[in-house]
Amino acid sequence: MKYLPLILRNLLRNKRRSGLTAFAIFVSTFLVVALQTALYQFENPPSEQSRFRLVARHATSLQNPLPEAHVDKIRNLPGILKTTPLTWFGAYWKDEDNWFANFEIESDTFWDVFPEVRLPEEERRAFLADPQGCFVGRDLAAKFDWKVGDRIVLTGQIYPLNPELNVRGIYDGPDSTWLLFHRKYVEEALKTSAGRPGRVGTIWFLVAGPEDVAPVSARVDAAFRNSNGETKTETEKAFQLSFVEMMGDLRAIVRNIVAAVALTMLLVAGNAMAMAARERAAEAAVLRALGFPPARVGFLFLSEAVLVAGIGGLLGTLLPVLLFFNSSPEPIMFPTFRVPTGIAASGILLALLVGALAGGLPAWGLVRRPIAQALRRA
């Protein structure tokens, strides 16, 4: 690359402009990579087992509970390894705005299906021993400043019950923003309440491998067809996605935002390169008068743009990679945030493409312009 020194010197000629342009591309690439990664996280929840974990819910509405008897029926179907019910309790703490996920669990079987919820053995025993026990995710505990031993009173919104709970443990896991407590406690307290006892929200179970997903789902749904608890079974991933999609068509939104970002980035870089080309018109003519082929002159200019964009794009991709590597900046939204290689590559590629387009038009102009005319202005 005998031209590299020339390209670099030209790049550093107006350090401020190159720097600012690279910065704009850095910010834009960061945005594109971070958004796409967030979307990816939504669509691919980080759980080693998520592909083999299925969930059955009422076919008509999430509001509708399933009969408790479904749990054992599913448990006894062939192809199903472990089964546990999980019921959304829908309570808040003190204030309606203190909104978080709280579930009733079947304590004996919960860990068979959710082994990633890691609770120290001692705390687990304490939880199992206390009918009013509960355990909470580390992030949630931090948010409300809950400690082991605290007594908390929740306000039920769905059922006429305000559970009084003892925090018996703090768990770690991919999503440590939940509160979990005994299903038995709710069943006892609501014994007389209409419509509630003997019902569960969702039923979760494990199958042996990905090839079992389709046949087992079909088998479960078939088992309850035409009962008053028809089920719809899907993978954990699809189930979570359906929640995300309630907000709107996220994919379309992210796609449009990425387009807007790319266009803005193109305008900023394109304008910068156009200014550089204007200043460089005479020099380009001189190079051509010295015998540099038009393609070479265009290439030199283009490489400048691509280099600036590439640097911005590289940094913009690296930042989210470093920032989110194995950490959880916003636990509720991004459990464990990791930039997939494909998205990182697409970020850099987009930046390079923007550089090529931003440099392309001015480069074409430099090459097209009659030399004699450009020299007269020199």
């Binding site: 005998k2 031209y3 020194p5 020339l6 010197r9 030209n10 550093l12 000629r13 005479a282 020099e283 001189v286 190079l287 051509r288 008068a289 010295l290 015998g291 540099f292 082929p293 038009p294 393609a295 070479r296 009659p370 030399i371 004699a372 020299l375 007269r376 020199a378």
Partner: protein, 237 residues
């Protein structure tokens, strides 16, 4: 290369379009220059001297007429062919030097060599030789803005000769220089012609500069003619 001319213009015309108007600048130029010649092209401002140089260098195209330079018919060549032609046969020297400001003198001189298959080491040798010829060895690492006008022009000449081109085209190379520097440059050109046998076409306003050439041609009203007496007198001084 005694017999065939290095430059041969036949019935060359050139007009520029200004708005809707065709403005004729060259009305039929015939010019032949053989190898080793040193021609001064004179004429009033706006008479088309630079245009003639541009046509010979293939950076502009004639409206009509034939142009042959170093055995090539420029009319039939593409932009890319013309670039290759220039890189091999033409050394260009501008009034405003036109060095690349972000490159040092030696890097500027090395520029045309990037188009050759020479190795880095060979390129450095050629550059050293060229800078030696123009007497700028000690300023090799300076940037253009650290050089005086005369030094800049000498660096530009080094850049023009470093590929050992067939033809040197100089467009008012002394137009922006003080008298002493101008003399240095003109002496240098004469030496390049005399010692190294370079064919040189020098455009100038200045009769004294024209005096350094072996042949003088005068361009006026779009045609080449003989020197008017007033010019001839001062030129021979």
């Amino acid at each position: 290369m005694g017999t065939s001319p290095v430059v041969s213009l036949r019935h060359v015309t050139k007009s520029f379009r200004r708005d809707t108007l065709e403005v004729p600048v060259l009305r039929g130029i015939d010019l032949e220059t053989s190898g080793g010649d040193f021609v001064a092209l004179m004429g009033p401002s706006g008479s088309g001297k630079s245009t003639v140089l541009n046509l010979i260098a293939g950076i502009d195209r004639p409206t009509s007429g034939d142009i042959r330079v170093a055995g090539s018919d420029l009319a039939s060549m593409s932009e890319t062919d013309l670039a290759a032609f220039r890189s091999r046969h033409i050394g260009f020297i501008f009034q405003m030097y036109n060095l690349i400001p972000v490159l040092t003198a030696e890097e500027n001189v090395a520029l045309p060599l990037l188009l050759t298959p020479l190795s880095g080491k060979e390129r450095r040798e050629h550059v050293r030789t060229a800078l030696g010829v123009v007497g700028l060895t000690d300023r090799a690492k300076h940037f253009p803005r650290q050089l005086s006008g005369g030094q800049e022009q000498r660096a530009a000449i080094a850049r023009a000769i470093v590929t050992d081109p067939t033809l040197l085209l100089a467009d008012e190379p002394t137009g922006d220089l003080d008298a002493t520097s101008a003399t240095e440059i003109l002496e240098l050109l004469r030496r390049l012609n005399a010692e190294y046998g370079k064919t040189i076409l020098l455009v100038t306003h200045d009769p004294r500069a024209a005096g350094y050439a072996r042949t003088r041609r005068f361009l006026d009203k779009g045609v080449l003619g003989e020197m008017p007496a007033s010019y001839a007198a001062s030129a021979s001084r």
